[in-house]
Amino acid sequence: MTVPEFSPAFWFLAGAVAMLVLPARARASAFLLFPLASLIHIWFLPTGVLQAYAYLDHELILLRVDGFSRGFGLAFSLAALVIGIFSLRVTDRLQQTAALFYAGGSIGVTFAGDFFTLLIFWEVMAVASAMIIWAGPGRAAAGAGLRYLIFHLFGGALLLAGIVLLWHGGGGLEIRRFDAAASPAVILILLGVLVNAAMPPLHAWLPDSYPKAGVTGSIFLNAFTTKVAVYVLIQCFAGWEILMWAGCFMALYAVCYAVMANDIRLILSYHIISQVGYMIAVIGVGTEFALSAASLHAYNNIIYKTLLFMGTGVVLHAVGTTRLTDLGGLARRMPLVVALYMIGAFAISGFPLFSGFVSKAMILEAMGENGGWLVHVLLLAAVGTFLSVGIKLPYYTWFYRESGLEVKPYPAHMPLAMAILAAACLAFGMVPGWLFAWAPSAVEFQPYSVYQVVEALQLPLATFVAFWFFRHKILGEPKIALDLDWFYRKSAPLWETLFITRVNRVFSATQDILDHWTEKAFAFARNPARLLREVPDRFDANLQRADLGSNVGLILVVVVLLTLLSLW
């Protein structure tokens, strides 16, 4: 079957435009058409460079398909489709438009063949995702959205700088694997990508903003930005040994914060970082098997992470709060949601028979062969994952004690969307071959070895035992743990004074001084004795204007100066 050869991102962009004109009633259902179209389109796309335009002295490649981009594209489209089902009740035009732009940007990056195209879709993603955060409730969302946007524009600037350097250095702009011998251009690109991958210390935007988006907003956000970054890392930076260390550090660092967090969406946000850490670590290994492991883990992650976020989304929708210290005892009121959530939780914790087990086993295998003792760091992170997502979150949310909160009914399409994803988790876990079919290269791997199963059972078992003995101590108090966003959030007034108020003052003073001295100079020319006159009032940007004579004088000075310079 032949299909039109344009970037599937355009389905989403067309959808976003359609959202602008469609009436509210039709929007939510029409929303589903575009991811579906993209899904089918990607499924039938052949491999290779399919859509390219000559631009200046290089090519803009809008559509380049290989094993990785096909897999990521399918996963993104599926996520957008299922989240669309979950949010059938949403009527906010801004959010729906932004969501499609956002997904379109992600798919556009996935199929981009050169850095220039990538950059354009990258910025579309940044702006659209900021819009999604802004659609969240309250002032907290507004502030977090602005911080998020600034952070990502900064990341985009790093990327742009790297691309300009790359172009200037004569290296073509097509997306390719870079050698580990680092040039400034490549380092800048890496940093720009790592901002989106939420690599500590560039990660603070993620836990700051994701929990503040709306019910469906944070579900959307979790699926795309970081995974797109993972995709770019796979394509360009595979085999960079530093990523192995960075990824392990990232996985552990975020898990610690997740254990401390008191907000269930914050726990899951930190787990995005932690899971991306797994992928980055294995990208650092760089063998073909390792890259398959990274991408399969990313696909699984998109699926089960979305499932988990949907679970918390239902809680937020039904109860109105996501703080663990306020929740408890809700299981009887939403048993189906608890069951579906637990499937996701088991998947992320890597239980046998669930999808996470397969890809995690691949990661541990690849790391064990090449990374030495680093694999133990990942195991420790796995302990923390099960502790916070698998036990702490569900236990205090749905069991433990009666919170007495009122539970609003939630629409049936929410658990329906969750059920689709849960089915995928189970299917990929029980029949690993279905998962391997998505892999960019053929995978010869048997996850269900005694060694893997034993490890995957004993670790959570021990975690559960430890948790049970301390279960009354772990809940703690309604507090937050300071993360690196402290540096810019707490110091914002300082920066404002330093870079805005002061700078403004300096420049207004400069103008003041300039005005003053031109005035003085002409006053002096008129009557030298008047130099002793006092200074004019403070400068007001709106009202102060130099007199006409100063302007005429300025013209005269420029003419004379330039003529002298030229005729010298």
């Binding site: 898990v255 610690c256 254990v259 401390m260 008191n262 133990h376 195991l379 420790l380 302990v383 923390g384 502790l387 005694v450 060694y451 199963v453 034993v454 490890e455 059972l457 004993q458 670790l459 959570p460 078992l461 021990a462 975690t463 559960f464 035992v465 430890a466 948790f467 049970w468 301390f470 101590k473 772990i474 703690g476 309604p478 507090k479 937050i480 743990a481 300071l482 959030r489 707490k490 007034p493």
Partner: protein, 65 residues
């Protein structure tokens, strides 16, 4: 938790130990259990004791200026 649950968990544990021993007798059979237990305790110690003293703040920390 009821006794039945604990017995069930112990059976799993015993099963894994046996399977591990059967697979590779040279290895310490409950290695991952011990590693998980110690790791979990370490995590709890770091996050609940050390962090509580250093980086935990009230929720309205950023709103107060």
């Amino acid at each position: 938790m009821k006794l039945v649950g604990w017995i069930f968990l112990f059976l799993i544990f015993a099963g894994t130990v046996a399977a591990q021993y059967w697979d590779d007798p040279a290895k310490f059979p409950a290695y991952y259990f011990v590693y998980g237990l110690l790791g979990c305790l370490l995590l709890l110690f770091v996050t609940k004791v050390v962090a509580k003293k250093s980086i935990m703040r009230k929720e309205d920390y950023y709103d107060r200026s």
